[in-house]
Symmetry: C2
DNA sequence: CTGTTAGCGCGTTCAC
DNA sequence: GTGAACGCGCTAACAG
């Protein structure tokens, strides 16, 4: 390993001069600087990250913590975060909480070891104790949902997609196409995630002077298989609807597969619209109408936001909401 | 930030005793240990990672470096690596080379800063200079392809899927179903990746006493859009085949979409088989027959392998090959 | 069994 | 302009 002392020895200048030249901080003659940069190049000097971090408390790393790596919902976000942080010379450390509150707390606890400068955190379910655990890391933080905390919120930012609106858009699209019996295929209603989307769904129905029929609210688990079985059983038990709002693409696909098996043609017999607009929508036949959740944008903005806190030392809250966007394809049909 | 000195002060014991108690290394009385563990708990002590790394040269981090984050091929691998490393208390740092040799070298250069203990590296195209750059990081390394290097290979392991065999299996499956005009939809033939698969394809044809018809080898770029256009143009220019071996799922989907647009029914008019077996295969209609590339297994084994090198200081090469597995669905039909 | 001591590589005073 | 010296928090060798 090449250190500043090797450069010092090679150039005959002191270690502190080497540091000043390399970091461009403090006085240093042109000739000294040139000699040092040259020697550094020749020796292939790369600063030791741990030593740098120990001294300066800068790790040039951000943790991106998400509930589920295999969920396509996060791919564009990971990409957005990675690409943006890269421009700042920052790396991401991937945290993976497997949808488990216990694991979330464990990861947050480990962060007290100061191996990152900031945290981008995604969860399905924010609670005061989770927010408190986030606060106690002492790290600049961006969460990828809107969460209103009763106390001081200045230690975190929210960069998020308007979830109720996404479900509203999807439901509204069905209504506009003449549907009135619209099923809602979601996850566990106890989780914020599903609650918010159900809220948008309900709002759209109410605005159309329709009441929410609880028998049309189907609980699955955000997986393809779960949705497949839930929808299969819904129909087998006499469930009746002309359209389905699926809370993510995986469930939309699961629902499509169930329909195919049940001999229901899409969109002739049943219309399906999903939220997420991942590439899965382009694999199905017919291509699936979906609501883009702007995950790439969310990732990019979250990264910019965290870098702003880290570099500019911003210490007050700044929230950014993105608006979902309807992408019409061929899985919803107009009925009379 | 709580340090060992805080614990030292609180318990009245010296810092080194604190370290011995905490790390379970060296002598320490039961009572002292209990007092120290208790104090650490109360104060919420978490060791400072940078300090630990500086002193011990152990970062408890591994870089996972891949060409493309948005490619579903890697999702299961990321998951496998993450989950396995987690059991060792290791984190992953995500590196992203955007399919660019220049970027690969940059990332490798930065690794000389010793911010990870090991490297899991995936590339589309291994060259001697790339391998040399890997060697010069001085890090324990696993690459996710087989690459035979003319010189000393003891500094890296290969954990990989038998690529030629995957293409062979896919082609063989078509042959068994009576197809003889089988198109090959791949990437750039200059890349190792495509070359290997083309090799398996050719071998299967030759074993069936068929020669490789170059007009049936279609060059695309491993993306859905690329395959869509390439196949569209292939047909429009009079291309004739009864089956297609697509080098990944994205291209399989692109090919399916092109067929649909051209009014070709799958599998009636054209059979399609792809490599990868990602979830995309379950979204298409009909569900796509594919060859599982065991990416989850590759990720897990790569992680075990790198941990073995790190913890047990293994310093000789150990290569592990996985065999791909045919997953039959409904996109290939038997013809007479 | 315990405490003292000396760095790991770098950044930052503070004299010269 | 430059260099000597100290310390970030932790580990390990050594002396007690």
């Amino acid at each position: 390993m090449v250190t500043i002392y090797d450069i010092s020895k090679k150039t005959g200048l002191s270690a502190s001069t080497v540091v000043r030249a390399l970091n461009g901080t403090g006085y240093c003659s042109q000739s000294a600087k040139a000699a040092i940069l040259n020697a550094a190049q020749e020796l292939g000097y790369v600063p030791h990250q741990a030593a740098k971090a120990l001294k300066s408390n800068i790790t040039q790393k951000v943790m991106l913590c998400i509930p589920d790596i295999m969920n396509p919902y996060y791919f564009a976000m990971i990409q957005g975060v990675t690409q943006t942080l890269e421009r700042y010379g920052y790396n991401i450390i991937l945290g993976y909480t497997m949808h488990s509150p216990k694991k979330e707390l464990e990861v947050l606890e480990s962060l007290k070891g100061r191996y990152v400068d900031g945290l981008i955190f995604g969860s399905f379910d924010y609670t005061p104790s989770l927010i408190h655990a986030i606060q106690s890391t002492g790290l600049p933080t961006v969460i990828t949902s809107l969460y209103e905390y009763s106390q001081n919120q200045d230690f975190y930012d929210c960069v998020y997609i308007n979830q109720p609106r996404a479900a509203w858009i999807a439901t509204e699209h069905c209504l506009e196409n003449g549907h009135t019996r619209i099923a809602f295929l979601g996850g566990d209603v106890k989780e914020q995630n599903t609650r918010e989307r159900l809220e948008g769904y309900s709002k759209a129905l109410e605005e159309a002077s329709l009441s929410v029929d609880k028998s049309l609210v189907i609980n699955a688990d955000f997986t393809r298989e779960g949705a497949y079985h839930a929808f299969h059983s819904f129909i087998k038990h006499g469930g009746q609807c002309t359209a389905v709002v699926a809370c993510n693409d995986l469930m939309g696909v699961g629902c499509m597969n169930a329909c195919r098996e049940l001999g229901l043609d899409i969109p002739h017999d049943i219309s399906i619209i999903s939220l997420d607009n991942t590439d899965y929508c382009l694999c199905t036949n017919p291509a699936m109408t979906s609501v883009d959740m702007m995950q790439g944008q969310v990732g990019e903005e979250a990264a910019r936001c965290i870098m702003n806190r880290i570099l500019e030392k911003r210490n007050f809250q700044k929230n950014t909401a993105f608006s979902p966007m309807l992408i019409v394809r061929n899985s919803v049909r107009k009925i009379d």
